[in-house]
Assembly symmetry: C2
Homo-oligomer: 333 residues x 2
Amino acid sequence: MTIQDVAVLSGLSICTVSRALRKLPNVSEKAQSRVAEAASKLGYKASAAASRLAGGNTGSVAIVAPTATSWFFSQAVEAAEEVLGDSGYDTVLISLRNKATVRKQFFADLENLAQRVDGLLLLNIDLDPGELEALEACGLAMASVGMRNVPWDNVGIDDEHAAWQATQHLLGLGHWNLAVLSSNEHSVVTETPRFRGFRRALDEHHLTVHPDLVVASGPGIDDGRRAMTELITRGTKPTAVFAHCDEAAFGALTALREYGLSVPKNVSVIGIDDHPMSWFLGLSTVAQPVADQGAFAANLLCERLLNNESPHQPSNHLLDTKLIERKTTRHKR
Amino acid sequence: MTIQDVAVLSGLSICTVSRALRKLPNVSEKAQSRVAEAASKLGYKASAAASRLAGGNTGSVAIVAPTATSWFFSQAVEAAEEVLGDSGYDTVLISLRNKATVRKQFFADLENLAQRVDGLLLLNIDLDPGELEALEACGLAMASVGMRNVPWDNVGIDDEHAAWQATQHLLGLGHWNLAVLSSNEHSVVTETPRFRGFRRALDEHHLTVHPDLVVASGPGIDDGRRAMTELITRGTKPTAVFAHCDEAAFGALTALREYGLSVPKNVSVIGIDDHPMSWFLGLSTVAQPVADQGAFAANLLCERLLNNESPHQPSNHLLDTKLIERKTTRHKR
DNA sequence: CTGAAAGCGCTTACAG
DNA sequence: CTGAAAGCGCTTACAG
């Protein structure tokens, strides 16, 4: 079935039908409703291929994630896929698989991708200048989750505040000897937002960050375990530790257990995320709304796709995070 | 850039170029290599839209999953996406979000989907007869993971054997008072393969399944916890429990802890899957290769897509599972 | 083995 | 507000 069938049934030209279907201006209400009726009677849906070829849209958008296997990305992706689907878009999934080669290839292929999709939803991709440039050059509509200083709509959380909430919780419990498992990207020159939040909370209590109590940790359980082990073998004795994410906190829990330290009796532990396993493990944490971030960003992208004529200021939306006290944090004795 | 550019550069007609690019027969080697050279020099890639419209392929395949958020599906999806990408296909993700309405809509829209993709990779979808029919009618190439008795290539594991391995492990440890957290789909009339494996292992030891020791459990942590709690409050005293999947086992672990029962001292616990958290929690389990299943099925689908002329017998590939002893199973005292 | 021509189903100026 | 015509970039018979 083609647009021709709809044209015949509605008694109008395919050209008018085409316009009516896409709700373009300059179509009489009468024509509009006749077309809508005919189309729905026929169950007609325009061929994506034909419409694309003729200069229209592809009807699909790509979601690009550093990896598709982490709980964070799989939830964000599913939520985004839902809103995209509701707006009639197919979701093409592109995982960079945490590999530099895959990533490089993605950016090299961007121009080709641009002819297959209408927009890009980027999830937590740390862009270097060349990549940013390639993205801007490809002409696709964009939106992102968890990115900073990008020239398109973004949604995320206030990482500094989340870290502040976690740290403040520990401080409020009477702890003052705090360790931090800080993300790998952290360094003396470029503090991560979460580290900044940690430090700010200490500042407010007139405490200073002790260098011996900050240790780098990747985002995985193993990473957290290794970091915590290093902390313990250093001989420093924090009474509480703030891990930059829940999985790192899980690892810290393991290391603590391995060294016979009891949580929360000897040491309190808190993370950020509210990973699905955190409830199960009783981990105190600061929850971030993952599905909401994906859905919100997808909505922004859809809006952008619908009226791409109107240039607008890129917006940055920060969703609320929330402290969740469970069993790994306790008042200092 | 279009096929015309390649034609000019190679000094051949677009028609020959088209054939050469798709490696169709009846193209001289000389033409073939000239075209290949010109195309690579230009970085040419055919427009998916045009090629689709002209009766060719869409260059994309859809992966359909009951949900995209579980570790199993996100791993299978990522692995499949990798092999599809390597074969030049875009992956469109469709999550049924565990919802009947979404599922219904998917099947209703199948005909439209069929014009947007070349093939379907189905992950663990339990088909009713009508759905199977719709799938066969849509004319797409197909392959699946974890499905039974389907008229297309499938890859999975031998569930009965995996359950047998887990149960046999418990039995080998001297346990004979075994409980089972069996999947919800299990009933007296339709035993699940995993339950069958459990029963067969008992049979081989001349043991019988005690009805009081089998309890239904969904696949989630909560489900497992509820099921284990029921078992405990029933007053039955198994010395070992086999959970049909790791997450249910996690829940069982929680319930056991809540009732002051120590694992593995009082009770041994084993699951199936080797969930990413199982290592962390020390759960004994029977590992199944998840990424491999996704990748394998994707490969079968690609093969099918390449030579769709040759009709072939649907194959069913069962990948190996492997017992992993960790800390939740121990010899009966 | 190769090429000229028609056509896939839309959209986009351009007239009216 | 509406329609006739051209064209998007390929593939597919059909000749040669």
